[in-house]
């Protein structure tokens, strides 16, 4: 039984200061799929995730969430605006993940506390509950954020470069977790990644993005040398003298 749901993109264009960061993107993330979004720097990958969560408004086109609500999406951003010096413990951070269910107010019920403990074990942070987050390494902190996501128990999981600046051991462990999430629970997982080996090894679907989509589908058909070459040809800087984009697909600026 799949617990995921489709997310559809219809001719989606997202712009910063009128320059497109994602340009005329159309496609679907099937329910329960495990998709990697790859592409060069400035290709619009993070922008796309932010548009899916609703943090950015499209300049044109739509994101169809097909019955999903905000609480059905779990999003792990690239550089969280998290104040690491804040006096909060690991356990309290993880518990935040369940907040849509436990709501406001003090105190945590037993069931949630137990689940938080289980989540910490799942990410390999047994016994870290009472540590302040400021005393953790980058890898340990990322595990804490993953544990929080576990508590969110969302149908769609969006990860923006979750393994950047993390040690190899943590990366392996968390990658296993992601794969397990997907296989056992049938969630839809979309992850922005840089390591092609990781993608080829674990992700059956891929979207190669260089502002406009280069290829979207099965990973081995997407990550071909020809496609990768086209992607690399993407001009990273904005064209200051670009004309207005005409509505036809493929005509880029």
């Amino acid at each position: 039984m799949t617990r995921g749901a489709a997310i559809g993109l219809r001719d989606l264009t997202i712009a910063y200061d009128r320059h497109p960061a994602v340009h005329h993107l159309t496609g679907d993330f099937a329910p329960g799929s495990l998709t990697a979004i790859v592409g060069p720097n400035g290709a619009g990958k993070s922008t796309l995730l932010k548009a899916i969560t609703g943090a950015l408004r499209p300049a044109a086109g739509t994101v169809e969430l097909n019955g999903l609500s905000r609480s059905d999406l779990a999003y792990l951003p690239q550089q969280a605006e998290i104040d690491r010096a804040f006096p909060i413990t690991v356990a309290d951070t993880v518990v935040m993940g369940a907040w849509t269910r436990i709501g406001v107010g003090l105190g945590v019920d037993r069931a949630t506390a137990v689940r938080a403990g289980q989540a910490l074990s799942a990410v390999g942070l047994d016994g870290f509950g009472r540590r302040p987050v400021g005393s953790l390494s980058a890898g340990q902190f990322q595990r804490v954020l993953f544990a929080r996501m576990l508590l969110q128990d969302a149908r769609v999981v969006l990860l923006d470069e979750p393994f950047t600046a993390i040690d190899a051991r943590t990366t392996r462990d968390l990658l296993d977790l992601v794969v397990r999430w997907h296989r056992q629970e049938g969630r839809t997982v979309i992850a922005v990644l840089h390591d092609f080996d990781q993608v080829r090894a674990h992700f059956p679907h891929a979207l190669l993005l260089a502002r406009a989509p280069i290829a979207w589908g099965d990973t081995d058909r997407v990550l071909t040398p020809k496609n990768l070459l086209s992607a690399r040809a993407l001009a990273e800087s904005w064209d200051e003298n670009a004309p207005l984009c005409d509505r036809a697909r493929g005509t880029a600026a």
Partner: protein, 292 residues
Amino acid sequence: MIAGLYQATVAPFVDYGFMRRALVACLALSIGSGPIGVLLMLRRMSLVGDALSHAVLPGAAVGFLIAGLSLWAMGLGGLVAGLAVALLSGLVSRATSLREDATFAGSYLASLALGVLIVSTHGSNIDLLHVLFGTILAIDDNALDLMGAITSVSAVALAAIYRPLILECFDPGFLRAVGGRGSLYHLVFLVLVVLNLVAGFEALGTLMAVGLMMLPALASRFWAPTVPGMMAAAAAFAFASGLIGLIASYRFGLPSGPAIVLTASAFYAASLVLGRNGGFLRRWWPRPHLAA
């Protein structure tokens, strides 16, 4: 010796009603304002208290124009002005790229100037705020009841919105992503801040109200590693400052407000140096490390 100690510390409160009331006021202030001060400090809004003490002027001035030197009217006016300034700055900081410290500065300065304008064109040369703002020795039962009510409401409200408030400080992006109405909780928090401060101004004057809200919170940072711990420490420091300050004011004839706030400052300075959680001594002379 015991008798002497009793005479010095307990007797003044037994003998004089005004001392008892002052002590109860300190207790209410500690419980109500201590936790709020901790949150203000964590949100980098520590100077808000002082700004608000100026922002209430146009409200008090309008109250004075309508009803003369009625503390009721001026207090209510001051509350409205304070709420307007706080809520406006909260909304502007959410809707634009300006941060809260900037929007607060903008709002309170405009408010203060408006207040001075109203007073200058219509008022007599009475210092309205001097009349409106009280002193702890003069607190009467009505003011005490009001403070008690506000403290209770604050404590309950804070407990109710505790989690989203913490989340908003710590990881606002997450709160936004899960659809939590961060702005709403922030605005409720601002309302609590204004309520506590304005009531504090009227009952105790600005120095005490702001001083006992912020200084104990700052001190608590150096003793407790978690927010609930800091709130408890802040309340304890605040009450202790009140108690010791009142006794000092009694024994040595020092003005009460400054005596209390200086005691709180002393606690803060001591915490800076001796605090377990990042104080100077611990930084320069750390304890020997453990085996594992």
